[in-house]
Amino acid sequence: MNTIVCIKQVPGTTSVEVDPGTGVLKREGIEAKMNPYDLFALETALQIKEVKGGAITSITMGPPQAGEIIYESFYMGVDEGYVLTDRKFAGADVVATSYTLSQGIRKISNYDLIICGKQTTDGDTAQVGPEVAEFLGIPHVANVGKILNIGKDSITVQMNMEETLEIQSIKLPCLITVEKDIYTPRLPSYKKKIQTKDKKQLNYLSIKDFTDSNEQNYGLNGSPTQVERIFPPEVSKEKIMLEGTSEDLSEKIFSLLVEKKFM
């Protein structure tokens, strides 16, 4: 059972604000980290490997320094890692990102299962997984909350829907996106860190390594969506602030509730 896990490096904090006056983003120390949801994807792959053997490959698209999270995945137990990086990838939206990942995965080629996180904390679309599956022409199941069985040519999973839990058996190769909490992610191991430090190499791929080397399909060129502007969220205008003694305030809320017919 060979597994590929898609992981992404995201800003360490989402606490950015737009200055309403200038429209410029105010940013505090923009450290990067692994998308927390992808830890669950990695752990799922590691759990499967413990039972079924095989190799795990992690893959990311991003700037060269995104290699840091591939190393982090090594320290958790991943066998091999790829960084898809190219200036031509800049400005990629979901379609372009997914297409790039699918090209990278075609290059790696030897896989039975692809696992993605539920969503990222920066893009936050939960769309990349299904789109990668479409570009690879393989079935997918999203919102997987449990792996129930792994057969020779199929995998049985529990899919989490709003009102139901569905058990689906999917032929391999396929792609799943996993819910947070499917397994508790292990911490990177210090021992593995020492073991792998100089031995493990990152594989870098760029457009010229792909079967489709048409630049029009990547980055901004390959992105159908365009961001026209970004701006701070609106604050509601109509508001009434109440101060006073606690007794007064209780009374005011009470009359408010009566007035608005909540009582």
């Binding site: 139901t164 396929c174 961001v227």
Partner: protein
Amino acid sequence: MLKINQEKITEEIKKELMGICPFGAFIEGNNGLEISAACKMCKLCVKKGPAGIVEYLEEVKETVNKDEWKGITVYVDHLDGKIHPVTYELIGKAKKLAKITNHPVYALFIGKNITDKAKELLCYGVDEVFVYDFKELEYFVIEPYTNAFEDFIQKIKPSSILVGATNMGRSLAPRIAARFRTGLTADCTVLEMRENTDLVQIRPAFGGNIMAQIVTTNNRPQFCTVRYKVFDAPEKIARASGNITKMELDNNKLVSNIKVLGITKKEVELDISEADVIIAAGRGVKSEKDMAMISELAELLGARTACTRPLIETGWFDSRLQIGLSGRTVKPKLIITIGISGAVQFAAGMQNSDVIIAINNDPNAPIFNIAHYGIIGDLYEIIPGLISKIKLGDSLVKAVV
């Protein structure tokens, strides 16, 4: 494409640009300052950076013939024919958008034994419901659903498609967007239509800290998902006039590599997204025993209790009771937040509520930016006072009756 005029770059400008870019996309490369794959093309460096350093070079792209694409389609989200209410909310929005371009509003209904239920959609003012009713579509499995959706797009050529951001919608929509290589904007909170049929989509980004306005000008259809309770459902109309059209689909489009082995209803869901009145507790509530007071208030008001994320982490609440970006989105008639600071991640899940009353002892708490009624004070005094007033009020009413 962004072009950097390297000859004008100084150390200071470099720093300034790096400071402006929210995505940390500027890196030092062999040829000076470079833009890495982290770039999201927000063009802040062009607009807000020092003049003439970073330029945006427009590239001529092949554009679609927008006249060939007509109609705003709502995908009908349902379970066994039971239509999810987000569908009606989207129909309401689609009708408003369609007015601007004079387009019809369509509904796309995929499933088994659903043709009868399509009438229900007409009562909300849909012009035409397209139905793919096949036994193979009994369960939501990705390939046949995608194929039916694809067939619809190829035959009808709708200009815009709105999909509910349910687990099903969020799995299906990207699959089809990829098949047509078109844009899909997730979790839109505002939708507007331009006269040239471009759909303007606004969504929170960076965990709700900023809003992004997104368009898909060179591709059709344009796709977006919208969460439940963001828009309002339209009134039912007395005399529905639209049509129901049954669609054909080749057998080979109905095959799947997925077998559904079983479906179970989830245990009675602690679902707060339907609640009309919510009392939400935050970290201002100091200990678990204080929850009794919160529950009592909720009971008196017929409200559901909910909370912020930290209270999930303490284990006081079931995780399904969390409101916010990583929790539920709610839109009750009334929400009272108690000891909640109003972090954007929380606010993202409740700021569309009809009436927001916030109780917080810090006058600068951001919750007061979105509250309609801001109560500055100590919850430990206000809540017990409120509870006894409600009880007294009740007994007074009873005495009078």
